[in-house]
Symmetry: C2
Subunit: 232 residues, 2 copies
């Protein structure tokens, strides 16, 4: 049998590409959007007591690296289980921000040709390094209204960020149509939003495959995902 393994190793490698995990760890002390129900991970069964180990998980659909579905914000719009499964995989590019404090249309226009080639766009803000600190919620760059509206004209399945939200965290703004403006613009066009990505610094400038298959929860307004990039 040893020979059998050796003989097939080169064959197997032809299909396997480099895979980069873009996912934050889920535990009971993880960063949560302010006001979110706490994540609980309970040792419900243990090998010592029961002969097998099972955790009882309790969490919100919008924890860690997760997708926002259109029905997260908008009435009568799709939940994640209503999309065909190929909604959650496609060609992608990373757009790295440098000193931009917002993601403007002017900034994005230089990526016009590349945006036309892909189905996912990931914005690398650098906030991934502030995960699990209070600074994670402050001053991360977000899309301007014009930029968000312009992006909906492309044939894009989803837009991702290494930050807590597609909109600023601003509890002084009580009008949610303002506070969640970018969510509204994107989700109304069925462009899913992926938040709290990480390892975006490890992605190449070239096109790669991004995927973020959600749990198949009935009527899911969101779902934590194991987001990965597959490089050629």
């Amino acid at each position: 049998m040893g020979k059998m393994k050796a003989d097939c190793s080169s064959q197997k490698n032809t299909i396997m590409n480099k895979i980069i995990d873009l996912t934050q760890l889920i535990n009971s002390s993880m960063t949560l959007y302010p006001g979110t129900v706490p994540t609980s991970i309970e040792k419900y069964n243990t090998i010592e007591k029961d002969g097998f180990a099972e955790l009882k998980l309790t969490f919100c659909t919008h924890i860690g690296t997760h997708i926002d579905a259109p029905c997260h914000i908008l009435k009568n719009m799709k939940s994640l289980d209503q999309f065909p499964v190929d909604k959650f995989i496609g060609k992608a590019i990373i757009i790295p921000l440098k000193n931009e404090t917002e993601i403007s249309l002017e900034f994005l226009e230089s990526f016009k040709e590349r945006l036309a080639e892909v189905e996912f766009v990931l914005f690398y803000t650098g906030w991934q390094f502030k995960w699990n600190t209070k600074k994670y919620f402050d001053d991360f760059p977000t899309l301007t209204k014009e930029a968000a509206e312009w992006l909906t004209k492309f044939n894009i399945k989803g837009i991702g960020f290494d930050a807590i939200s597609a909109d600023k965290v601003d509890f002084n703004e009580t009008d949610l149509s303002v506070a969640l403006r970018n969510h509204n613009i994107l989700l109304e066009k069925e462009i899913i939003i992926i938040e709290n990505l990480t390892n975006l610094d490890k992605l190449p400038e070239t096109v790669f495959t991004f995927q973020c298959f959600p749990l198949k929860v009935e009527n899911a307004d969101g779902s934590p995902v194991r987001a990965v990039a597959i490089l050629d």
Copy 2:
């Protein structure tokens, strides 16, 4: 912008292959292994009340289409978050059962050449059609001891079933080393087990890509997954 979409559509299609969802739906009335903590899906925030919708999910790590990690049964063995992410994707074949009441070494030997080429093996028992009925727990075919041990000699990452378990459901057998024999044999070799798959009747006889990325839960003994097959 309409032209831009049209121009790039053929390019996009070159990367996209046919994707088949192999995942059972998660809801509060889903089939669970006897004794498992009930799955709860609570509307915690609603658009009417809060301006946004979020579900509070409570479930065991071993519900629906899910992975068993080595530490599910075996002390001091790996949890899912301890594997590199490429553990959860690879070339796969489906082995369909016809009238076999068990999966014997004799039956498997005719698949020897094909098993050497892949990283995942999925057994199509037909029990997927009994999901959400009491018959789902009865008499599904499982690996004999010899067959399970023989499979560990291949370079396999994981073995999947469209049934509730890799072992019979038998509560008269109180010795778990007997009742969970196949779990022990496979997990001891770090071969992950994928249970409650579905749509296995839709898979081709040829090699395809199987993937089952788990949630990135700390110390996860298992995880529900969105299992999919990607066909060339």
